[in-house]
Symmetry: C2
Subunit: 151 residues, 2 copies
Amino acid sequence: MDAYFFEDFKIGERFKGKGITFTEANIIDFALQYDPQPIHIDTHASESGVFGGLIASGLQTIALTFRSFWDTGVMSECGMGAPGMDKVIWHTPLRPGDTLYGTGEVLELIPSKSRNDRGIVRMRYTGENQKGELIVTLEIPQIMRKRQVAG
Amino acid sequence: MDAYFFEDFKIGERFKGKGITFTEANIIDFALQYDPQPIHIDTHASESGVFGGLIASGLQTIALTFRSFWDTGVMSECGMGAPGMDKVIWHTPLRPGDTLYGTGEVLELIPSKSRNDRGIVRMRYTGENQKGELIVTLEIPQIMRKRQVAG
């Protein structure tokens, strides 16, 4: 899709990304480096644990929900970072063989008071699996560039 | 240090982890897979950008703040996952060559009403660089196992 700028986003608009399948190997690889809890790296220990088997790190589900959304291309020219992230909820564990689909939805549009080249688009990101079950939801106030006007 | 259980945590207690140095290579490797924004993967494009050079993905700073804390060992026996994460603020960008130190601080202790084998320890995590500047702060309500008592 075409790259957007701040002015192009509309409240309620949704951008759904393509699926990304989590394998046992990439769940363990991520966790070994970034989140080495037994439920994310040990198939045997995790079997007798709370979740009854290996589950992906919640940080990996956030990252690949965002990645799936990012690959829609809508934010490729306007993204200027973000001051934070809020309201992360992990709803259902993601397991080896599951596929994650990330969607970004526009919650709020806040033009910058001090800089007229940008604004904040408060986005709600949703990660769902192949059955449409919620995996993770979160909000990020994204700083987005305005379209440059010849001046 | 010795592994803790729910009963061992005290409000205000802090656990500071060892440093982890971010290289240009591991910033780019993480971002290529999880957060491929130009400010995280392109040293040339990022030079003329908002941050004046390559910066680590905020998701990577969260993950390695937690990893630095995790390696203290305090949560190695009691961690049972978490329902979410809140109040993430990225204060200062982390750049190639910087070192990140993660600290976990106990904010609140909430025994489970329905299950007497666990409780929630609301933790505040802080990532700082080698100058003591805040990089990232966030809160996670960690589900922690109680010490098993012979019955």
